[in-house]
Assembly symmetry: C2
Homo-oligomer: 190 residues x 2
């Protein structure tokens, strides 16, 4: 998606340890028109395999998943990273390792919101090592729902996430695939 790639080149900042910071428009400050375009793109890309739910994980996937769900006319569900006191016990859960926070955490989805009759599109902001997305795939499988695929705004293609997800037979689509951040320069895959 050329609009997103141009924005990454203009406003993304490359930090040490292969981090690309996009928090001026994607995941801290958010440009709503860009997110709407990303959501419409993802909904259109997966329109050939209709889905009944968009699933993401709090927090930085929520607005992108919402925009996708709005474009597709289906509900969005976001997995929670911590159990709220009001949440009850009727939950799917999975364990996720966070590289940015260096800790394991439990993600949960209330069972009534993912059913075996659902067909699920998973959406997130960034695919790097794929930990959070593997946790979401695990939860979809527990529910018995169909797995339509995974759509992300940005993929760091030099990390292992896509490979791990494709090994599970999951279709992955990224709007901007970053091949390299070496020397502080952002290079996209063609």
């Amino acid at each position: 998606m050329e609009q997103l790639k141009a924005r990454i080149l203009r406003d993304g900042r490359v930090l040490p340890n292969s981090v690309v910071k996009v928090d001026s428009f994607l995941n801290h400050q958010v440009d709503p028109a860009l997110i709407q375009a990303i959501g419409e793109w993802l909904a259109g890309h997966f329109a050939d395999t209709p889905f009944t739910k968009v699933l993401t994980i709090e927090a930085s996937g929520i607005h992108i998943a919402y925009a996708t769900a709005l474009a597709a006319g289906v509900p969005m569900v976001y997995a929670k990273k911590r159990k709220a006191l009001t949440q009850g016990d009727d939950l799917y859960h999975s364990e996720v390792w966070s590289y940015t926070r260096q800790e394991t955490y439990r993600i949960t989805v209330a069972r009534p919101y993912l059913e075996a009759s659902d067909r699920v599109l998973i959406v997130d902001d960034i695919l790097a090592e794929g930990s959070a997305l593997l946790g979401l795939v695990d939860i979809v499988r527990q529910s018995g729902a169909g797995m339509v695929g995974i759509g992300v705004a940005i993929e760091k293609s030099f990390q292992a996430g896509r490979g791990r997800l494709e090994e599970l037979g999951v279709r992955v689509h990224a709007l901007a695939r970053i091949a390299s951040l070496e020397g502080g320069t952002i290079q996209f895959l063609e």
Copy 2:
């Protein structure tokens, strides 16, 4: 907003300790068409005092703030509840007490995304005791930005939040004001 009140009456569930669970359409599973309508309503309500940023806090305010920002054509910023390793030190922060989690946590906003020239509308899903919103007001004041007001989907009017915010001179608007949950029955303020 009649659409939201009708949805709360149909799908909300009253739990003990004055909790109303709306996680089938507002803050776990999300109905995008309803959220879009809420965002357009809030943007319209505050259109008389134009704002340059919509500010919320992760996670359950994000989609509502996004929908409001999209309708108004301005950026959205969400405060983070935990510091990410990539976030740097150039931050505003405030301390927030969570009643649902029974703990204090620090919320942060990167300084470049709130400037003294900004005029800020704060948006969240639910106003009860007002802790998170007081933290956001504190951050807006630190930034020197103008405070346009606070818009929330649901207010529990029998709790102290609105009073605390109005004491600070902040304009508060709620689309559904719940007067009472006594006996498990949802009663709205007129």
